[in-house]
Amino acid sequence: MAILLFADHDNASLSEHSARALSAALQIGAEVDILIAGQGAAPAAEAAAALTGVRRVLLAEDGSLSERLAEPTAALIVQLAGDYDTIVAPATSSGKNVLPRVAALLDVMQLSEVTEVVAPDTFKRPIYAGNAIEVVQSAEAVRVVTVRSASFSPAATGSAAAPIVAIQPATVPALSSFRQNLLSANDRPDLSSARIVVSGGRALGSKERFEATINPLADKLGAAVGASRAAVDAGYAANDFQVGQTGKVVAPDLYIACGISGAIQHLAGMKDSRIIVAINSDGEAPIFQVADYGIVGDIFDIVPEMERAL
């Protein structure tokens, strides 16, 4: 049987998480359909159709789906579920919001944040903030799976576009309504998929000093900016900058941790990065235990010096 991939997108474009989740789906089975639920979402559907390995793209458009609110979106996926034995979504805020609702409506247990496909019914997933890895098998009639996109490389864009099929979503009563999105605007790469991430912690001391210290180095490197929970809680950076167990999980080629002590909850979000650099005045900070290169010193001297030397 086939696999349905609930894609992450903003109607106008497909997020890279979807291409990464497709790689995971193709490790489970060969027949993968991508569901684009939205409104005015033809551009996202076309981008999905261009990915290598996609059988069909199902495009469901309705005003109620424009922001993929959980209730109508889960109802739509359940409506389609009879044709699939596996339902996959990237573990983005949208996938994490919608898929457990689908699993409960289908009376199956979900597998969350899968990092490796061992077999079509067996997966690895981190537990305890990544301090243990569970190898878990599902004998459910439908396997509902969210995948951690940092663990899978994005599927390539192919030459032949897959067919796009329009789906009529069933009407369901509205239990919630969208008011507004307050999105952080910046021109930097997306934190979750950036090749280089420069992150700041509580040691930055203020929003102004965070921006004046971290941003120039990030800009010089073409990097995304991240933050520890402590920095976000203190208001130095916006919530969507948070890297960690409950924030974003990133695995860039280079992660530069500036003034971050390295609580296990933060390490959970970045310890799969290829190269980790730690800059901290406390030589005993736990961040040095995961760092490939550590430098003990004042971030307000070292970070600007790096920026000037690049």
Binding site: P100, Q137, Q289
Partner: protein
């Protein structure tokens, strides 16, 4: 409006966990246990809503072993009115917990359920969404702000690109994110008072719920360890290593 707040007893967030030698799981013998931090935020939210006159009663519930009474007493000391322990040993999956909560939310005629967005042990992030589905209620996950207005709640959610505001018809399920509030410490008099607040015990069988796990955990492994790194003495040395040895810039 009655608010139901499910809380989970988990390993304390400061504990560095150890694997059992036979690969069957994590060794929690003698580990310090606490209330799941996100559930603590949920309790605080419900208590604040009661203090603001937006809720009439706060009922806390836990599904777990007899020792889960301790986290229920903590919630009572924070200001919840009464507690329910649904006693179950071993691994109880989010779907089974959601089914138990569904029964209790219905029998209690709760107008809202607030719970943590995920538990820090299994990191599933499922129970609230599953409960909303089973009840046929609306959901607002990852909440960082909840404002009541008449028969609905205006909820600000933390999403990947920033924040999202949605309006939720009641009854509804809300899952708490980190920045919804800062939970209070229970005062000593309130801890003493909490010992006298009602705590009833039930079993999943009383509620007619089968809690046998659906998923089969084959083994639990250590994560891959990182090779130990080096200290560098200067920015010039660091940049040289990043260029030539690591080839990342």
């Amino acid at each position: 409006m009655k608010i139901l707040v499910p809380v989970k007893r988990v390993v304390d967030h400061n504990v560095k966990i150890r694997m059992k030698a036979d690969g069957t799981g994590v060794d929690l013998a003698n580990a310090k246990m606490s209330m799941n931090p996100f559930d603590e935020i949920a309790v605080e939210q419900a208590v604040r809503m009661k203090e603001a006159g937006e809720a009439s009663e706060v009922v806390v519930i836990s599904v777990g072993p007899a020792q889960a009474q301790e986290v229920l007493r903590t919630a009572l000391a924070m200001g919840a009115d009464r507690a329910i322990l649904v006693q179950a040993e071993g691994r109880v999956e989010p779907l089974a917990v959601a089914k138990i909560l569904q029964r209790v939310a219905q029998s209690e005629e709760a107008g809202m359920v607030i719970l943590g967005k995920q538990a820090i042990d299994d990191d599933c992030n499922q129970t609230g969404q599953m409960l909303a589905a089973l009840l046929g209620w609306g959901q607002a996950t990852f909440a960082s702000k909840v404002e009541m207005s008449g028969g609905s709640a205006l909820v600000t959610r933390e999403i990947d690109g920033g924040l999202q505001q949605i309006e939720l018809s009641l009854p509804a399920v809300i899952t708490a994110d980190l920045r919804l509030n800062e939970p209070r410490y229970a005062s000593l008099p309130n801890i003493m008072k909490a010992k006298k607040k009602p705590l009833v015990q039930q079993t999943p069988e009383d509620l007619g719920i089968d809690v046998a796990p659906r998923l089969n955990v084959l083994r639990v492994e250590e994560p891959a360890a990182r090779a130990s790194g080096i200290r560098v003495g200067s920015v010039a040395e660091l940049l040289d290593k990043l260029k030539t040895e690591a080839a990342v810039i």
